[in-house]
């Protein structure tokens, strides 16, 4: 038995990952099936002198997270479906003002109150399009408890590096299941810390739209006094209605993510080399897919999987390349069809099939295998 | 924590035991619409009284037992039960406090 191997839930692993990443601040509002992230942190953070607060609702929770983040905190919140819908305005504010933070969405079933205790993957498109106006987002879909921990650390790093909200999209299965996790020592993982700008306050502009580099966000209260507003603003942070400033500001929000996609993207390929059927799957569905592929391979069907770990920005290039080689693509999702849209868009010429099961149960390997056989014409 | 759906299902059989069967006290077990009702009637302190306990609904919370001022009720295998109807004053507390519509005093 190794000291740093633990059995824990996906939600606990996120909390654990946050602590390792140096999380200073949690604000949240409970909601099934994400509440354990909050409950675990309500215990862990005070013990290490960090801040925990339960707010009056999800809007307030993300507001407090952003306030703390402007003070220089590594801050996180966690929620599920209805709470995520409420957070949309503040997600846009965080994007616009380029405030780093991590937002966990443990997905549950259905629109509206739906199925609070059952899993789904119905919020993947919301993650990208939920707030009004144009912005780019980073979203990560771990598929195991262990990955939940490490991807949470990565989420904090990306948030600070690109000054952006980063979403972690898990689901009720990953969030509530218990698996073995190798808990790393803080020193064994790369951690990007909040730091002061390398220019003196007089020279500091809180935004930079043209150099291609992300300006660090100066923690408030350290001598860098600046203005933050959700109005379109110039590089000084003050509102502007100049057409060139507006266009630059808008371009920048997209470019800083898309032009750095090589650094942000993360994916896994499983037996794709010789695959004749490609399965694009993420989160818990990718686990069933892997099992289904093993079944298919045993039956002589050459199937392989592409698994986006960073789901936004979407790995367009990879899908596009794979689709040139593999002409049949299956996208199993615990929703009525979401990521399949992105696959269709990028895999022109391939045949793209959906397997959309939304009944409160995870998609089972059998179901995917059956579909693979159907596609293979068996 | 318990959504006792099972109690609502069809073939529930409930075995009852340990009566305090005295004179003038009648105990009847009825089944209406799949509900098992244990009806005890007799003469209480304020005259004739009948207490129905709907066994399927009772979740065994003990509120009726604890707050009956006259110790008329006891728990039996997690279901409330009339133990001595003769002391009943028809104060209705048990009925008011039963959260599960499982006790009716008449």
């Amino acid at each position: 038995m190794t000291k740093n191997i633990k059995l824990m839930q996906g939600n606990e692993a996120i909390a654990e990952g946050a602590v390792i990443a140096g999380c200073d601040f949690f604000a949240g509002y409970p909601i099934t099936p994400s509440s354990e992230v909050m409950e675990v942190l309500s215990n862990k953070l005070p013990k290490i002198g960090k801040a925990f607060i339960q707010m009056e609702d999800e809007i307030a929770a993300l507001g407090a997270v952003l306030g703390a983040a402007l003070g220089g905190a590594k801050a996180i919140t966690a929620s599920s479906g209805p709470g995520m819908s409420l957070k949309q305005e503040h997600i846009g504010y965080a994007s616009m003002c380029e405030i780093p933070c991590v937002i966990v969405n443990v997905m549950r079933g259905g629109p509206s109150t739906g199925l609070p205790t059952l899993p789904a993957q119905g919020d993947v498109m919301q993650a990208k399009w939920g707030t009004h106006g144009d912005h780019a987002i980073i979203a990560i879909t771990p598929s195991s408890v262990n990955e939940s921990l490490y991807e949470t650390i990565r989420a904090f790093n990306l948030a600070i590096k690109y000054r952006t909200p980063v979403l972690i999209l898990t689901d009720e299965i990953i969030g509530h299941m218990r698996e073995r996790v190798v808990v790393p020592d803080k020193n064994d993982v790369d951690i990007i810390d909040v730091k002061l700008p390398d220019v003196p306050p007089e020279k500091y502009n809180p935004y930079n739209y043209t150099s291609g580099k992300v300006t660090p966000l100066a923690p408030m209260g350290e001598g860098y006094r600046y203005h933050v507003t959700g109005l379109i603003h110039g590089e000084t942070g003050f509102p502007s209605q100049r057409t060139d400033v507006i266009q630059n500001a808008q371009n920048w929000l997209m470019d800083k993510i898309y032009k750095n996609i090589k650094d942000i993207e993360k994916f896994e390929e499983f037996q794709t080399e010789d695959a004749e059927i490609l399965i694009v799957a993420y989160g818990s569905t990718s686990r069933s897919t892997r099992q289904a592929i093993m079944m298919a391979r045993s039956a002589g069907i050459k199937a392989g999987m592409f698994r986006p770990i960073t789901i936004w920005p979407f790995p367009e290039e990879q899908i596009s390349n794979l689709s040139k080689r593999i002409r049949k693509i299956l996208v199993p999702e615990m929703n009525m069809g979401q990521i399949i849209f992105e696959v269709q868009r990028n895999a022109c010429g391939s045949q793209v099939y959906g397997l959309n099961i939304v009944n409160g149960e995870p998609i089972a390997p059998d179901q995917i295998y059956t579909k693979i056989k159907e596609i293979a014409g068996l | 924590m318990l959504e006792k759906d099972n109690k609502n299902s069809n073939n529930t059989t409930v075995t009852l035991s340990n009566y305090n069967v005295c004179e003038g006290i009648e105990t009847e077990i009825k089944t209406i619409n799949n509900l098992t009702i244990k009806e005890v009637s007799g003469i209480g302190k304020k005259g004739e009284v009948k207490i129905d306990i709907i066994v399927n609904y009772c979740k065994g919370c003990e509120l009726c037992v604890a707050f009956c001022p006259e110790d008329v009720l006891i728990m039996n295998k997690e279901v409330a039960e009339v133990v001595d109807i003769s002391k009943c004053t028809k104060c209705n507390i048990c009925e008011y406090l039963c959260p599960d519509f499982s006790i009716i005093v008449e």
């Binding site: 191997i5 059995l7 995870p362 | 299902s9």
Partner: protein
Amino acid sequence: MSDRTEFRFSGSGGQGLILAGIILADAAAIYENKNAVQTQSYGPEARGGSSKSEVIVSDSPIEYPKATKVDYMVALTQEAFNKYINDIKDDGIVIADKELVTDFSNAKGKLYIIDMVKSAREELGKLLGLNIIALGILVEISGIVSHESIEQALMKRVPKGFEDYNKKALEIGFKLAKEIKNNK
């Protein structure tokens, strides 16, 4: 996939089935270095209804985390028995409590009716610990982890002052299971 062993604890909310599952998974994953996944299912908004806790143990990585072909199942309510018996393997083993489950018309696999409640009442004095008895039975009957491992895992999760009580419950489980084995 074939070395996958699937366990299911089923019953109702307050019976500590999730804890039993966790301890089993912990014993396998941490103390015996196997792969183990534990999952559960809830009613609406984290409460209510019949519930189950599942553990999958395997030497190879576990992908699909839910049980589909259950090797070992415990049922501590009639409702759970009815609801969760379906995907038991043909040669799977089902342990039902004699008092809490009375209708076996849906039975599948190999059924053992054991009076866990009675043992608990008689040997522990109360029903608290039924989950651990069930755990003991499944461990003993499956041989999935050693007694030592399960004990260690149990001790880690037991509140201070209840160590002996729980150890005793576990041993009652072992004992009941041995009786089954002997009767086989």
